[in-house]
């Protein structure tokens, strides 16, 4: 593993650890690992889906909308199951345990793409089963 790959892995591991703390309700600092100019994409067709340009956009448009709808509890969080990296890019496959505000289980599966530069995440893509988010987090059904 090159020094760039080691740095990328370290930053991503810190992001994931802080995301876990957020999902458990212990902290809310995971966005501090994003560069001010980061591109942050959530895939799918949900109200949270889209590309957010810059940390301010992520905070004001993504987190402000999504965070109030997510349950927080010790034991919730993402567990990485595979890392595939090259240089400043790293893909993490992860399983998640979570819940809606009413406690319905929300256990999704994730493909997370990171590009890290100078110790900060400059590009992040969260790819997941967005239909599950519609059903559990947004409390909808297919009709």
């Amino acid at each position: 593993m090159s020094s760039i790959e080691e740095q990328t892995r370290t930053v991503v591991d810190c992001f994931l650890a802080d995301l876990l703390a957020t999902q458990e309700g212990r902290a809310d600092g995971y966005l501090s690992h994003l560069d001010e100019t980061a591109t942050f994409t959530v895939t799918g067709q949900t109200p949270f889906s889209g590309t957010y340009n810059g940390l301010q956009d992520v905070r004001e448009k993504f987190r402000a909308r999504a965070a109030p709808m997510m349950g927080r509890r010790i034991g919730y969080g993402l567990i990485p199951i595979d890392y595939i990296g090259e240089g400043e890019e790293l893909v993490v496959l992860a399983r998640g345990r979570g819940g809606s505000l009413d406690g319905s289980p929300y256990n999704n599966t994730y493909f997370l793409y990171f590009r890290v530069r100078d110790g900060k995440i400059v590009h992040y893509i969260e790819d997941f089963d967005s239909s599950l988010a519609w059903r559990v987090i947004l409390q909808c059904h297919l009709g």
Partner: protein, 143 residues
């Protein structure tokens, strides 16, 4: 005979899906290939071996997809497991274009020798449910 570079093999496979490569896409897949499509859509699941891939996954997909084009944006990885960021767009059988914005989705390929032995795809599941199968997400209850 020497093995093919995994990324070159994946590029050729994608070209074959786009009908811009002389080989049939199935020729790139091991007979015991395992294809996993994330989510709970009618296209989702774990398809083990070419018969399941052809008879269930591909036949179901052909029923809802008229035209498909896949573009590789990134290939990441230095070994036999390669992560990809793909732009998958096309036209549904009902005539609706899908992903004309060019959103990216994740995919992971495992390669052995001259064959792809596993594909883990993370498509936009809410787009599959809504655009390809024509369903809508309806609130469970009104407030």
């Amino acid at each position: 005979m020497s093995d093919i570079d995994p990324k070159s093999l994946i590029r050729a496979f994608i070209d074959s899906l786009n009908r811009s490569h002389p080989q049939d896409p199935y020729e790139f897949l091991a007979t015991d290939v395992v294809i996993t499509i994330n989510g709970t859509t009618p296209l989702s699941g774990r398809f083990e071996g070419l018969p399941l891939v052809q008879k269930i996954l591909v036949d179901t997909a052909v029923g809802v997809i008229k035209h498909l084009h896949v573009k590789i944006h990134r290939l990441i990885g230095k070994g036999t497991t390669v992560a990809a960021l793909l732009e998958v767009k096309g036209t549904a059988q009902n005539g609706s274009p899908f992903n004309d914005h060019g959103d990216l989705c994740g995919c992971v390929f495992d390669v052995q020798g001259k064959c792809i032995t596993a594909i883990r795809a993370f498509p936009d599941t809410s787009m599959i449910d809504m655009t390809l199968f024509g369903w809508k997400f309806v609130p469970n209850r009104t407030t």
